[in-house]
Amino acid sequence: MAYKIKASDCTACGACEAECPNNAISFKKGAYAINADMCTECKGQFSSPQCASVCPADCCVPA
């Protein structure tokens, strides 16, 4: 299970990258993307997926 970024809504602000506890998010080829292999949905770490909680465009969603 993992989260993904809906690229069409993303403002490329980078807020999610700074919050991800697993460094699953990075800026590649002009867009932010979540590496599904590293994403844990923040389970066991936080009460909610951090990227989705901070994203101003609500574009971090379950993959």
């Binding site: 403002t11 602000c13 980078g14 807020a15 919050e19 951090q50 101003p56």
Partner: protein
């Protein structure tokens, strides 16, 4: 590369030579401004004056002489405001859709070096978004300041924040010698706050409603106290939202004053459905110029007010009334190659301003005393619109003005009370008639408009609208001229030659400020 503002042109000296009909500026004396951010060295502790005297936002006087530059290195934010749609960047400190480029700290540094070389008036580097300068750990913000402090130690550092993350970073701010911090505080009561902030992200959670507003409020007050107790100057920005926090801002003014804020800057809400903000879409209006001024006047006596804020974009470059950001895009800067930092031009300029200032403070006081004596203290103050491009002088042609500075002049002296943008009218290509109508509605609460020069047609229209066009003070100092005019005006009023102007309300123009100096 576009032309550089020369020292001459900003001080009006260049124009003096060119415009033969203009008499040399005789400093006829003037009032010391009695209020707020226009305070001079006599009104504050010497160490505070040292910090603010060259900062265009913290000293009204300095804003006639010095330029600031924002670098857009902080796109992330940690709260959502109803007046902001981050698809188009923050509409508060930075206008919607107008951060042309987000910069990495390295790019920011290169840009600063390039601008410093072109604009010797540059004294302040600020980080104001486009998100929050302290969100995402403030990483880019502090990285930029760290490099800058090494390369150009004479530039002042300045940052703006919504305050949520502020308490975590106060020590770092103090370590980097950041003397000036702006906190945007729109409420001191969560009941009010819940209508402004739909959510915040704090302590790994998204909070909404009253809880969100309560946490934000507590963090803002804590951050403010921590900063002021360390001697860091704090400016508080508030967005005036009619029907939501307009009267409440008087409480905000008191609350921030009691916690040591240096300056309070009440700004009008910018709201337009096209910006896609919550307020824009729900039809929440912004205040009129008169509503804004009334509120500012009511706050007088509390925390000092800033009235010369231009609500600059997060990548603004230049004097406050202008934006030369488009001259310094990443591509243009890359093309310049390595630019070495040269302090010499800036130092010469600062010394020049210093010399000019000493005489000015005395001259203003003398003129004010003169008016108080001849006019008495009973006369009602009037508003005067001024066409200027800096240097505290009336040195702009009516038709070229992108904005008018508004001065209130009366027995208590002349003081800067605001500015009105008219740039859209001049550049819109909408025809001269419309352009003029727009200018008239922007300054229709003024008795006179001071210009360096004006054509016959607009002159007639102004008179018809009851605004006297005045070009006899061309290239002279604004405040001295305003007092001289007021003396004469009071006399004519006394003789019944003219009538006092009925109060009218002017329209605040908003939108991306794109005007550049011609």
């Amino acid at each position: 590369m576009a032309n550089v503002i020369s020292l001459d042109s900003i001080l009006g000296v260049g124009e003096l030579k060119a415009a033969a009909e203009a008499p040399p500026a005789a400093a006829s004396g003037c009032a010391s401004s009695s209020c707020g951010s226009s305070d001079g060295p006599a009104d504050m502790a010497p160490e505070v004056w040292e910090k603010v005297k060259n900062h265009p936002c913290y000293s009204e006087e300095a804003h006639h002489y010095f330029a600031r530059m924002h670098v857009a290195v902080a796109p992330a934010c940690n709260i959502q405001c109803n007046y902001c749609n981050r698809k188009y960047d923050c509409s508060n400190e930075s206008r919607p859709g107008v951060v042309s480029e987000k910069l990495t700290p390295d790019q920011a540094l290169r840009k600063i070096m390039a601008v410093a070389k072109e604009i010797p008036q540059l004294s302040v580097i600020g980080i104001a978004g486009p998100g929050d300068s302290l969100a995402a750990g403030g990483k880019n913000t502090f990285k930029t300041f760290e490099m800058l402090a090494k390369k150009a130690p004479d530039l002042k550092l300045c940052l703006s924040t919504n305050g949520l993350a502020l308490p975590d970073h106060v020590d770092t701010i103090a370590n980097y010698n950041i003397d000036h911090v702006t906190i945007t505080i729109n409420m001191v009561d969560p009941e009010v706050g819940q209508h402004i902030y739909p959510w915040i992200f704090h302590d790994h959670k998204r909070w909404t409603g009253l809880d969100a507003a309560k946490i934000l409020h507590e963090r803002q007050m804590l951050g403010l106290e921590m900063l002021t107790s360390r001697g860091i100057l704090v400016k508080v920005n508030s967005v005036m939202i009619p029907g939501i926090n307009d009267e409440h801002l008087m409480d905000v003014n008191k609350a921030v004053k009691s916690r040591g804020a240096f300056l309070h800057n009440i700004m009008p809400l910018i709201s337009d459905p096209a910006h896609g903000t919550h307020f824009g879409l729900t039809g929440q209006r912004g205040p009129t110029a008169q509503e804004l001024k009334v509120l500012q006047d009511q706050c007088e006596g509390g925390a000092k007010l800033m009235r010369h804020c231009r609500q600059c974009r997060a990548d603004a470059v230049g004097l406050l009334g202008e934006d030369r950001g488009s001259e310094f895009t990443i591509d243009q800067i890359e093309a310049m190659g390595e630019v070495e930092y040269d302090q010499e031009a800036a130092r010469t300029y600062r010394e020049h301003v210093e010399g000019e200032r000493a005489g000015r403070h005395a001259a203003k006081a003398a003129a004010q005393a003169d008016v108080a004596e001849t006019v008495g203290t009973e006369a009602q103050p009037i508003l005067i619109a001024v066409a200027t491009k800096g240097g505290e002088r009336i040195n702009e042609h009516f038709g070229h003005a992108k904005e008018f500075q508004i001065y209130e002049v009366g027995p208590k002296g002349a003081k800067f009370v605001g500015h009105r943008r008219v740039d859209q009218y001049c550049e819109g290509g909408s025809g001269d008639e419309d352009a003029l109508g727009g200018v008239l509605s922007a300054i229709n609460d003024c008795t006179a408009v001071f210009v360096a020069k004006i054509g016959g047609c607009p002159s007639t229209s102004l008179k018809d609208a009851g605004i006297e066009p005045v070009d006899r003070f061309a290239f002279e100092y604004i405040e001295e001229s305003a007092l001289t005019y007021f003396k004469d005006y009071a006399e004519r009023l006394g003789q019944g030659a003219i009538n006092a102007r009925e109060g009218q309300d002017a329209v605040i123009r908003t939108g991306a400020f794109t005007a550049r100096r011609a």
